[in-house]
Each structure stands twice: as structure tokens, then as C-alpha cells.
Symmetry: C2
Subunit: 260 residues, 2 copies
């Protein structure tokens, strides 16, 4: 960085025209040089998908006053890869993703395009934060989320965090008066219980819409779900080394008959 | 289970007609009642994507002699969700995914549809294994991989593993004579260095193909990449709680000025 201002990559999974990404750009304005690379259409639920079977398109998008922005035909992860290799030709100093319209706490970190974009940046060695507001609506009020985003982005830039630092930040749907602050949390064990909606098309063939009910099965303390229910924004440090070291030790001991 | 035979769900990401899934079915034949639910087209690199914006199709597929099989229009994760909720109406006793045509060791666990299908089953509480062979070719020789798959599937069924057990198994491209056996490993820190291939279409517009070079940055011991390079199949126990507990403790201490 030296005397230059830091470069902040902004992306999301709801698409470049979603109000949430505009709110995030406003939140980090003035903290560095902002570069936006976001999908040209909604990409929710894309997880860590990458586009390998078809070519990618990338266009300059004149949608944010005075900000360099590009829209991409691919997934959120594709956006981060293209940003580095085709647009910036170097690592940004910070990547912020969101603000997602809807929760990405607990197990949702796995399905979330917002978090996968942030994770891709962290894999590349760029400290990164994904922000999600617990309000699905287009007209959601992002003001509390914006304060959280600015505070955390400032902190991450000031402290020059380890290059693989990745935070999953969720913000409750509360007014500024009712907002309790931020809490460092762990990922709750929760899951979706699917109930597919089976329908019949005009040609008489069945099809299914995925629907489902969120179930929190975690009664322990310090979870993100718990913090959010109590009016706090949850901040979960996330890692991409998925090794289960406890199970690893166990299998090394128990499976001596089949492993070397 | 009681006296009934166990139910084994077989899925993949290369699609129901890929040789790898046929090899996997043959490998686990006789260990229980086999039910196949797999994508109707290749879904490599889909990560943990789910289909939420469009309806899903599910058709009986008469492709494996004497085996109940369905093909699905969605992602590998969709297949696992539909298998449980629409076809089985209960949890299978084991889920096996693959055998993938190509490696899913190290960071590839994040991008892999094969592993995401297995992870989805583990989230649902079904012990699960993803298998990948380090040979991309259609005509790859799956015989070593089949032995590994049968040994591990048998072990998992015999031992009634914890319900969230998930293994990422990669098999080297070696002959049976050169195969060294299985090793319990940890996920190597490695990444893809992208070099997008920029081209110009017949209308004069640029487009990009994702390409890239795999770089192993992990010089430590016990990695999956290392085991594979030495002729072993790597077995990495995987978890879906992505909380970075070390960073969590650190931030709780250092960020007292901004968190509650």
C-alpha cells in the first residue's frame, strides 16, 4: 500500500442493481479506492459455484456515481476471480460482499453466494467480509448494516489482518435505537428442512419448487443465531480449511486395519 | 435399520451417464439397497449451489440394471435434498458421491459438486463419502478407486459412524500394483492461480474462459496432496462448521472497543 490508498473490492450475489450493494458502497466510501465487480443478474444460493463450461462476459457498468464498476455474466466467485486477474491485476487490500438481502447465518454460509465471493477473496489472500441483513425485502432499511460495515471495514484496514481473515457478518432487522452492537460468535448448528412444493405443469408433468423451514438445533452458547435473536449483529470468523481434526485423530486410531 | 438392509444413496456431479457413477454403483453393490439420484447433465464446479429461482424436474431413469435410479434437472445438492424428501421419505444410511472424473483434494473441496452433494447428506445427518479419481478422462480406469470405495463404504456401514461424518477421498492415478493404500490426511493449503483466456467473438466482443494453474503452497506434513503424490489414496475427514475458533478468541480479545 505504502502511501497509496487501499483498494476495496465490492461484490455481492443479488446482482449489481440490488439496493444492498449500493448501500455497501456508500458505507465504505472514503476508506479507499472502490472497485465494484458484481453479477449482472441475481445469483443467490449459488454457493461456491464457478463457471467452467461456458465463457464469461464482463462489461463496464455506469451505475454508481464516480465509482469504477463492472458487471459479469458469471457467479459471485467468478466476479472475484475476474476482478483480480482482468481488472485490478493485483490483490485488493480488502474485499466486502453484500449487503445481502436476507440472512446468511449458521449453515447458510455454505449455500450463500455472498459468503462464497468473500471466501474466494480470502483464499486469494485478501482479508474479506460478507454482510447480510435479516430482511429479504427490496426496500429493506440498510442503515444499521451500513454502520456495522463501515466500522468493520475501517478496523480491518487499520489492523492489516492476516491475509486469510474472513468474517461472516449478519445484521438483525432492528431500528438503530434497538440495535445492541456486535458480537463475535460461532456458527450455529442449524439446517433447512425441505418441503418441496410439487406441482403439475400444463403438459401434465410434475415439477418441484424448493421451499423449506429453517430449524436451529443448537442450544449451546455464543451462536450467531442466538446473538441475532437478541438484537446483536453476529460476527463469525470463517475458515476454508474444512479438515475435521478431531475425526482425523479418531480414524487414525480406529482404522489401523485399513489405513497406512 | 433393524433387520432391514441399509439404504445407500448414490449421487455425483458428472451426471447420471458418467462412467464414474456406474463404477461406484458396482463398487457398493451387495452392501445394501442402492438408490441413485443424480444430475441429468454435468454439474462440475457447482459447489454447494441450490436451485431456488426455477422449478426442478425429477425423472425415473432406467440406466442401471436392477437399480432404482432418478435423474434430476438441478445441482448435486438438489439431488440429495430431493432424494430424501421426494423419493426415500427418510434418511438413507449412507451416501456415496462420485466417483468423480478428476481430483477434489485440497481447496477443491470448496468448488466440488461431488463433495457438496456428500456434505449436504452429512448436514442432513447421513454419514457420507465423496470419491474422486485423479484422472479426468472418460475412459479412466476406476478399478483401484472401486476397491477403496467398497472398503470405506463397508467400514462406514459396519461402524455406524457419527451422523455428520463426511470423508473426502481422492484416489491416485496408479495401477493396482503401484497403489500404496489409504492414508488419513488433512486438507492441503493450495489454490488455483487463474489465467483467464481472453477471446473475441464473431461480433467483436470480448469473452473469457476460466483456466488456471494449481499451486500447492503447503509444505507441512500429512496433507492430501502429499499422500496422493506418493501413491496413496487420501482420506480427509471434513466438517461443515466453518468457524475459525482461533481467530474468534483473538478478535474477542483485540476488538473489545467495537464488540459487546
Amino acid at each position: 500500500m505504502a502511501n497509496d490508498q487501499p483498494t476495496i473490492l465490492v461484490t455481492n450475489d443479488d446482482g449489481i442493481t440490488a439496493p444492498g450493494i449500493k448501500a455497501l458502497i456508500e458505507a465504505v466510501k472514503g476508506l479507499g479506492r472502490i472497485v465494484v465487480v458484481a453479477p449482472d443478474s441475481p445469483q443467490s444460493g449459488m454457493g461456491h459455484a464457478v463457471t467452467i463450461g461456458e465463457p464469461l462476459r464482463l462489461h463496464k457498468a455506469n451505475v454508481f456515481e464516480g465509482i469504477d464498476a463492472w458487471e459479469c455474466s458469471g457467479t459471485p466467485v467468478d466476479c472475484v476471480k475476474l476482478a483480480r486477474d482482468i481488472i485490478l491485476h493485483r490483490k485488493p487490500d480488502l474485499c466486502v460482499s453484500g449487503i445481502n438481502h436476507g440472512a446468511n447465518h449458521s449453515i447458510n454460509v455454505i449455500y450463500s453466494g455472498t459468503m462464497s465471493a468473500a471466501m474466494e477473496a480470502a483464499i486469494e489472500g485478501v482479508p474479506s467480509i460478507g454482510f447480510s441483513l435479516l430482511d429479504y425485502r427490496y426496500e429493506a432499511d440498510f442503515s444499521v448494516a451500513q454502520k456495522v460495515a463501515r466500522t468493520l471495514a475501517t478496523k480491518m484496514l487499520e489492523q492489516s489482518m492476516p491475509e486469510h481473515t474472513l468474517l461472516n457478518v449478519n445484521i438483525p432487522k432492528v431500528s438503530e435505537a434497538d440495535f445492541k452492537g456486535m458480537k463475535i460468535c460461532r456458527q450455529a448448528y442449524a439446517k433447512w428442512e425441505e418441503e418441496f412444493d410439487a406441482r403439475v405443469d400444463p403438459r401434465g408433468k410434475e415439477y418441484y419448487w424448493m421451499t423449506g423451514r429453517f430449524v436451529n438445533m443448537d442450544t449451546g452458547s455464543n451462536t450467531d443465531v442466538d446473538a441475532l435473536a437478541n438484537g446483536y449483529a453476529s460476527v463469525v470468523p470463517v475458515k476454508f480449511d474444512l479438515t475435521d481434526n478431531e475425526m482425523r485423530s479418531r480414524l487414525e486410531g480406529e482404522w489401523k486395519d485399513i489405513v497406512s
